[in-house]
Every structure is written in C-alpha cells, then in structure tokens.
Symmetry: C2
Subunit: 116 residues, 2 copies
C-alpha cells in the first residue's frame, strides 16, 4: 500500500518537525542557522546549558530533518534544511485556507438570506 | 520589562502551538474543525480511543489557543481559532525567508567573484 505508507511517513515527519519546533532552545538554534552554517560549539555558545544538552537538542532537530550536520575532521558543521520546514508550514497554511473558505461560504449564505 | 515579558509570552505560545500540532490525532481534530464546529462526541467519533483520551487531546489544543470550546446546556462545541495557527505559520515563514535571503546574497558574492 504505497499511498498509505506515504501518508504515514508524512504524518511521522510532521510529528517530528512540530515536536522539534516546540522548544525555545531548538527554535533559537534554527534561528542561528538561518544566518548561516555553524559548528556545534558555535551553536552552543549563547546557551547556558551543557554541551551534552545541546547535542541532545541537535539530535531532535536532525531526526526531524530540519537540520543536517556533517563532520569534517574534528568539526561538525550544522546547516538548516528548509524543505522540512516547508512541510509544517504547508500543513498550517492549508488548514487556514480551508477555514477561510468555509467562512466565505458562510458569509455568502448569510448574504443570500438577507436578500430574501 | 513589558517587551521581555511579551517575548517570553510569544515563546510560550509557540511552544504550546507546535506541541499541540506534534500529534497525528490532534492534527486530525484540527482538520475536522477546519470543516466547521463540532461537539466533543462528533470530534471523538472517527477515533479508536476513549472519550477521556479525546478530552485530554482537546485540552492540549485549547491550552495552545488553536481550539476553543463553549458549553451550552450539556453539549460542548469546539471551534478552530486560526490566530494561534498564524503565530506558528509566521515563525516558520520568517525563518525560511531569512534563509532564502542568505542564499541570494551568497549567489551574488559568487557571481561577483566569477566576474573578476
């Protein structure tokens, strides 16, 4: 059932992306990475937390696909991956659009009723 | 410090909205409500879970501000509140735009370099 599998994958991706964004430290890391790639220690610098805690947050961000990292020599460089953010953005945008259309239809029905 | 308080409130709102959307059952409930208001039992109908579990999910959605409900007589009716979704949508859209601008600047720098 490739269509069902695809839907379940999309749901799992949305779970992970929204979960990754539900923490202020992780959002601050995404913020930092929108200004350009950074090493793990650069990313950790502004935070009052252990490096282990930063690495833990990074793992959640990487699992969601919002961030990817690459190790060259001893330095791991992190980058943002905007495609993962797009799935979450589109999910919200679509629901708001559906709701907006529903209100438009409701307004039409009321206008029609007032004419009578 | 009203500005700082305001920022902390916004962060707390984003935490709650993203957390609310990080669950497939809660997203399905939002989906249902984009088609119009529903009672708690209508909302629970398609789910293979106890009413208590549905009420628990609803509480998370209400805490985030994405859903609000109103009890008239014995029936609690739930509606979507698109403003809460907008804060999460705008957070993502802004980061993607910042990242896009960064890539544009990078492309300009590379183009300038190739001219020399």
């Amino acid at each position: 059932m490739p269509i069902l599998n695809n839907m379940l994958n999309q749901e799992a991706t949305l779970d992970r992306v929204f979960h990754a964004l539900a923490d202020p430290s992780r959002r601050a890391m995404v913020d930092r990475l929108t200004r350009g790639p950074a090493s793990v220690s650069e990313l950790a610098e502004p935070f009052d937390m252990t490096l282990a805690a930063v690495v833990q947050h990074l793992r959640v961000l990487e699992d969601s696909g919002v961030v990817r990292s690459e190790k060259v020599g001893r330095v791991r460089t992190c980058r943002i991956e905007p495609a993962a953010l797009t799935s979450a953005e589109q999910w919200i945008t679509k629901r708001k659009a559906l709701w907006g259309r529903r209100l438009d239809r409701l307004a039409e029905v009321l206008a029609e009723r007032n004419k009578k």
